[in-house]
Symmetry: C2
Subunit: 219 residues, 2 copies
């Protein structure tokens, strides 16, 4: 296993390759849970309907992780992917906006499982500020420039109304945020150094719809 230094490798990695890292990670976690210690690129590819050449090419951006005659060691590859994704240690996340979506996300347990922890929550509504949700205190949005750097937070979940999203996002960038998970239905316009992922839940409904069409057509 030979890893490339991060600065050398991650410059030109396509988004789609990074997206597939999450797929590989989830699949490897399942394989490891089932008690299987190693896996070939062919086998991993088959599980995800990806050619083995594509699997090797994807990992090739980051180094050489396989062993001749063995394949990948699941535990090692999981660790390597999480290192690439920066989730081997728990990453603190800030939640901005504690309306319905924000409150739902405060209770969402899936983040912790993959190495994320909502550490701070913010809102402008003074009726919400000071309230505790689980173990999280809702802070006044005015405090972000002070609190985000203090907690070393680089990732934010944006769950504010569409009309305020752009201006709130600019405040976040000013406070050191480098990545925004955007639930607001607007395209944010921010410096290129800031990563943005727009949540598109319709993708998942489409997957379901396909299954429904299949069953309906066989009825």
């Amino acid at each position: 296993m030979t890893k490339k230094p991060i600065t050398e490798t991650t410059e030109h990695v396509p988004k789609a390759v990074v997206a597939r890292l999450s797929l590989y990670l989830r699949q490897l976690q399942l394989v490891e849970q089932s008690g299987q210690a190693t896996i070939s690129s062919t086998q991993l590819g088959q599980m995800l309907s990806i050619t083995d050449a594509q699997v090797r090419k994807d990992f090739g951006y980051f180094g050489q992780f396989g062993y001749p005659g063995i394949g990948y060691r699941c535990h090692e590859l999981i660790h390597a992917i999480r290192e690439i994704l920066g989730t081997n240690e728990v990453r603190p996340v800030a939640l901005i906006g504690c309306g319905n979506m924000g409150m739902a996300l405060l209770g969402y347990r899936g983040f912790r499982k993959q190495g994320f922890e909502v550490k701070l929550a913010f809102d402008v509504d003074q009726d919400l500020v000071g309230r505790e949700v689980g173990t999280i205190l809702i802070h006044d949005f005015k405090q972000i420039t002070e609190l985000l750097p203090q907690f070393g937070i680089r990732l934010a979940i944006l769950a504010v109304p569409a009309q305020t999203a752009q201006s709130v996002a600019e405040h976040l960038v000013f406070s050191g945020i480098l990545g925004i998970l955007n639930f607001a239905p607007v395209k944010l316009n921010l410096p290129a150094s800031v990563s943005i992922v727009d949540v598109d839940l319709a993708v998942q409904l489409e997957q379901l719809s396909f299954g429904v069409v299949k069953v309906e057509s066989s009825l």
Copy 2:
């Protein structure tokens, strides 16, 4: 362009291929919006960092959509994919559970854009039943066996607490639901004919985290 009859084709289509259909669809919608009328499998693949062979193999499950010397006609391929996914006509969806997540989803505009409409909402809480959210009336959960078939609803979004999710899901299946978008943090155990997609928002945070690691390592 030659489509295979649905019953012949969709039997053995891997989940990962269906997931990529959504990726192709989003990309083709962008390409078409930019004014480009045709696209080659190589070009489409490059945009998504997928080999052209993989692109052709994926579409090959459903028929022959390209033209020699032209490639794919964007408009036609978008229509074909939406037909495969069953979203050329608006698909009605039921929302089960009107807590924070449910309320947030009632206001989520991304569904409509891709061909889904939340038609009915349900809750067990009598304080919520009868309330109108936008144009949607919240119904008593007891009415699902009557209302879902009446509205021909096959897709449901499950946003109920973990401890009730399984029993609610069983009621949904009994009422004719064939696909469930599951926000509850439990593995549902349902007949194989029912499609389930578990929402995993951590995947999207991982994509962001990668961007953050990249910037941090260059600081």
